[in-house]
Amino acid sequence: MEKVIEVKNLEKSYKKKKTKELVKAVDGVSFDVYRGEILGLLGPNGAGKTTTIKSICGLLKPNGGSVHINGFDSNKQRLKAVNYISAVLEGNRNIYWRLTVRENMEYFAGNRGISKKEIQGKIDELLNFFNLKQKEDELVSSLSRGMQQKLAIAVALLPDTDVVLLDEPTLGLDVETSYEVRSLLKRIVEEHGKTIIVSTHDMPVVQEVCDRTVIINGGKVVADEKVEDLIKLFETRAYCFTIGDELTNQQVTAIENHFPIVEINDKQINVTLEKEDDLYIIMDILKSEQTNIEKIDRTTVDFEQVFMQLVRGGDQHETTVASH
């Protein structure tokens, strides 16, 4: 597979305005993106998603590491690199509310050096694709948020770049519009052969749309996996113990000390194990008080749980997932 984007040991710190202390927003992030792939960049608030995306766009100069786009350094050869990418960074705030839908598209195409005449066909195609054709002469300020967001994505697709970066494209959308945007994203990859990086908190976006996900937390990559593999991996490690007796306090403490990701209900222990041996450790703890184990089940997990576990589990998981 052809590598389109290569992020290597990316580091970015900001100076806090008041205290002047340095905040490490991105701390040694590395990942690659391949042609035709749709990659989900996932992480909680403040994880460093936006910083990573803006560094790829060359809008931020990294303190360390590098980003290459089709071989061009997005910092040192910014304008060459930018030739291959377009981005929606702040959704509906990325377009001019005082211009109409079509005027926006013509203006942004013009700034990339494309003439008004030349772009008309593409504009019509995109307006139809995004179902905005009837709105083409309306001011953006009069559109719904969903339409504005779709227009912002349409604007990013105008120059027909290899890569499109989307920072939180479903932010602030209702369920229905969010669904529409998700299926449009899938179609963009399928029909237009684009490579897409999408950052999001929105699990369905990753689960339905993305081929692969890079999860970052605290400025570090905690997982870089195919979405289905990640779920499978966690499924094989997730167990549900049904027990006959109540656990003693010592047992509870022992279990919680060993396993950061555990949920203990009355007669059930839902736990994610990190290695094979863990199964024996937990059985030892149960046996120590002659607790009856009635049943051990593999549990199914959805992406949301996987995400929560990775992010909550912090550093321990970095190693286990990476060694998979």
Binding site: L59, N94, R98, L99, E106, Y107, A109, N111, R112, G113
Partner: protein
Amino acid sequence: MKQLWHLINANLRKEYIELKRYFPNTITMILQFYFIFLAMLLGIHVIGDPQQVETNVQYVIVNYVIWFFMLTILQSLGFVILFEAQRGTLEQLFMTPLGMWRVLFGRIISNLLIFGILVTVLLVLSMLTAGEWLVFRIDVVLPVFLITTIGVIGVGYMLSGLAIIFKQIQSVLNVLQFILMGLAFVPLSVAPYLVFAPFVKGIDMIRLVMIHSYTWNDFTALDYSALILNSIFYLVFGIFIYLKSERFAMERGLLSQY
């Protein structure tokens, strides 16, 4: 080159669309400008016309036109950048592979063209209404004016760069009118060192042509070199400051309102 042409075109269109769409604003600006002109021109009538008065009024009109023209262009550049940084469109402009400095070039040129035409038309119109004509050699004024404009482009870049970095630029933009007023109204004969300040040499020469009927031969080679060097210096210096500011903004993450 062709790409740059399309870019300038797009920015001209946007400027024009916005002037048309916000017609009440536009018309207020036009009327205000027209009436101030008219008042000044009529001043010649009212006061009567001993040679001295006429010269003074002409002097004020020429300075006022130039001042108004530069102020409009420079302020709108700065304010638009501030506004776009807050709105979120600034970063989108930075995504063009032609480079933001070219987008700015497109904007400065559009501003110069649109306001240049506007000011010229209004000037002629108010002269028609007042029946009072400023007589000058356009073939001398125009080249001098165009060379002066090159310096304006440079200062436009400078202000754009500062507007990206300093969120407090708003107050600077407000003070700008007084700085420009000083540059536009004070003749070089009074403050010779101002020859190093932007525009001043050009404005001084335009004044001499319009009021004292200077022609090509009345200026020395030194005048012309000072004019050209001043403009080129401020263009290069302005772009330099802009590119430095851009780099600084990317290091600090200042392109969007955080």
